[in-house]
Symmetry: D2
Subunit: 266 residues, 4 copies
Amino acid sequence: MDRKINVTIYNENFHETTKPALKSIYPESIHGALKSFLEKDDAIGNIRIATLYDHAEVLTQEAMDDTDVLIWWGHAKHDKVCDEVVDRCAKRVIDGMGLIVLHSGHASKLFQKLMGTETYMLRWREAGEKARLWNLAPNHPITKGIKETFTVPHDETYGEPFGIPNPDQIIFLSWYQGGEVFRSGCTWRRGEGNIFYLQNGHETFPVYYQPEIQTIITNAVKWACPVNRICKIDRGGSNTPALEKYELEDHNFLLLDENDHPANQK
Amino acid sequence: MDRKINVTIYNENFHETTKPALKSIYPESIHGALKSFLEKDDAIGNIRIATLYDHAEVLTQEAMDDTDVLIWWGHAKHDKVCDEVVDRCAKRVIDGMGLIVLHSGHASKLFQKLMGTETYMLRWREAGEKARLWNLAPNHPITKGIKETFTVPHDETYGEPFGIPNPDQIIFLSWYQGGEVFRSGCTWRRGEGNIFYLQNGHETFPVYYQPEIQTIITNAVKWACPVNRICKIDRGGSNTPALEKYELEDHNFLLLDENDHPANQK
Amino acid sequence: MDRKINVTIYNENFHETTKPALKSIYPESIHGALKSFLEKDDAIGNIRIATLYDHAEVLTQEAMDDTDVLIWWGHAKHDKVCDEVVDRCAKRVIDGMGLIVLHSGHASKLFQKLMGTETYMLRWREAGEKARLWNLAPNHPITKGIKETFTVPHDETYGEPFGIPNPDQIIFLSWYQGGEVFRSGCTWRRGEGNIFYLQNGHETFPVYYQPEIQTIITNAVKWACPVNRICKIDRGGSNTPALEKYELEDHNFLLLDENDHPANQK
Amino acid sequence: MDRKINVTIYNENFHETTKPALKSIYPESIHGALKSFLEKDDAIGNIRIATLYDHAEVLTQEAMDDTDVLIWWGHAKHDKVCDEVVDRCAKRVIDGMGLIVLHSGHASKLFQKLMGTETYMLRWREAGEKARLWNLAPNHPITKGIKETFTVPHDETYGEPFGIPNPDQIIFLSWYQGGEVFRSGCTWRRGEGNIFYLQNGHETFPVYYQPEIQTIITNAVKWACPVNRICKIDRGGSNTPALEKYELEDHNFLLLDENDHPANQK
């Protein structure tokens, strides 16, 4: 690889700053916990942090163009995120930036926009239940170092039916103590961007300190990083000339001239 | 089936009303041509028509709730379609309404919203080239009565790369005289709604009179019609009780009470 | 529909004839239980029965050509099924016959041949645990009449990782009391044939009397039935002539003549 | 990476040794041409060669266990390949070995076994037509360095419908001069193994000297290489103990004892 992977983390940081009890779990907030293990990996370069309070200033076009993989954690304040920022991030994903969506980020504007469906549709229960993840793809880059199954001692329960489009690949399925199952690790491609969703990480439990979860997120950053490491993938312009000149006797049957073309009339 | 399939057709109707030359092709506009063959089928019931000029009045919530399958043809005036109508239609698709998107409808707000990606990304050329469709799914309900291959004598050329998410099923691939290929017939599921995209039908050529095209669209209406024929599919509420009561010694570790829950603080 | 759906059931019938205790559960064997509810449906026509002991005589080419959907239940004696019969059935699936594989049929020669992978790879435990199925596709023909979730009071537990190729569609995910999850209802297409796998139905529990399971299997028969109801789908011959005659100046560069063609030398 | 990628090439080598005209194209046979560009890549280690004439001796279990990626080119003599070798190779793919199938290898026993369908079903024409490949996945590891489109001046024409199961990802679609289209670059996962099929490379044209084709095959070797670089992935044993001990009042209802279990009666 020619250079290291630039990561940007968006963490809402609302719960951590408003609920004193959470300070004992995430003294540096969730973004601090994520940054702390990601920065230990040699493949990862610059790590930017954005929160609800500064996201419009941090997630600029320049920052996005310099980001290879964006990580998104949000929960209570999805509707406070600027639409302009969401559009900018979504466009970068289409152009190849990787995206990792964590836990309640399933209901973020960004994830919903890219999925095209009401992904907040799922069952949930805050009961501190045990979750057991099953690894469906032991030879996938995201599961390197992850065994066939492992448990998260306490997490929020999510349950099917989950309103997502068919994933390109299901990486993890989760079992929960109270009777639910969930497609808890999934990949999709949107435009040129690789997207990974991981269910785990409710703010009231120290999930992001768990080694398996750290390994999965680190692997996912490497997997989601665009192959070509460029800011934009040129997918070609319009009105392509044909492969070869050819004579077509009646090809101009009712053919519109350039000025008539709808694209020029808007 | 307990009742007939209610269809709503949105046709922009801009070209037909502004370009005199098109009158010789579609004297009753594209929606008229579509309606004309659909209404001959016994399985199809009421057919509503909406155009750019009246779509806000026609595509009401009541009309959408009474629609089983929505057909969408738009080209030059996508940006003039009301966002509120788009949201209403998209939500109905998520709830199970079928959607058939024709030709330049790939760039409509509705299709882009449901796909979650910049589906206007494709190559195109208005050259009246011959298109040859290949049937990749001869045992699919959409291809009933369609042979292995057939040609559309003249149509606009579309070319890959087409910025769509991976289709659930590719039904047709098209070959064009000038050197392009295209995934010209594709299905997706979004929420509970079945979606079919068909590339053919540029307004300057009489494509919707071609028997194969009429068969495909009629089949697609039947395929896309929701199984349960209801207006909304209840996907369940939130905070689901567990399957069984159980004692979990530490399940209330830092558990938020109801009033603290983020969903109640917005 | 022009005629009713002809169904053939293969049931090993080994456990029922060798374990007296099973007589109290399936006095007419599993095939009897399946036939009993299928024959009540108006869309279903002739139902053939084959068992381990007579399958070579029953599953003839003529019978297969007359079968629209084949149901397969096997467990202990997969290796006693004739390879010739397996090849015949697989070829019919490729040509469009529907296939429904139940429970331990995942390890049958037929299913493994069509999947192309070691589908017997899964975890299992005979512990009479409760299974809870979650309906991931409420608007799919197979789930018509099935609610969001239901339980099977006692069944064999199957667990991921399940060595199947990515399904075209996951219909059900199952949760088991002891900590497993399983893709318990899946569809694939092989050639022109529709395939559905359902996990439930261990021989020691009266699962096939449960109304939800009966509804699912009946629905699946209708879904899997080929659209064209023909015995064979002609997918075209070889050495296709080009769409149009054309002159290609150097197209005969090293071109083999007919007799040289490898296909004629075998 | 801890060590280099070990590659094994199977090339039938029948045409090259029986048709003098081919000597001017592939003086070192097709396997020689493949080896020649692969060995220039630093990531690639040992390259073994097997042909029709020695494949039983070369493709031993030991060689397979030491192989990370197997490349397969065959055409006229598929039926002369030992079934035992095919089973061994297929099992290694299930356990994680990568597989790259070239051109007529689509009809090889190995590819057909892994696909589970009659993949020899396609249209074809030996007419030296121009093929144009369209890159559908510009941010995929296999297309690194490949532009949006490129042409192969002369190759055998393959045409849809191609009897493959739905690919996990379509990488290339091809257009052919005479009116065909083809899913010419596709990926699948079988068990833990990554599989890539590339259509190009008829023996009568110097396709494997073309830089784009060499880049694609080299990329594919790196993509297909198993993540864990082990010989076997242990997918767990059977009769798994439950996650936790629990009391189930009636779980032994008709429960078979160990000796009764069908798996022990075969």
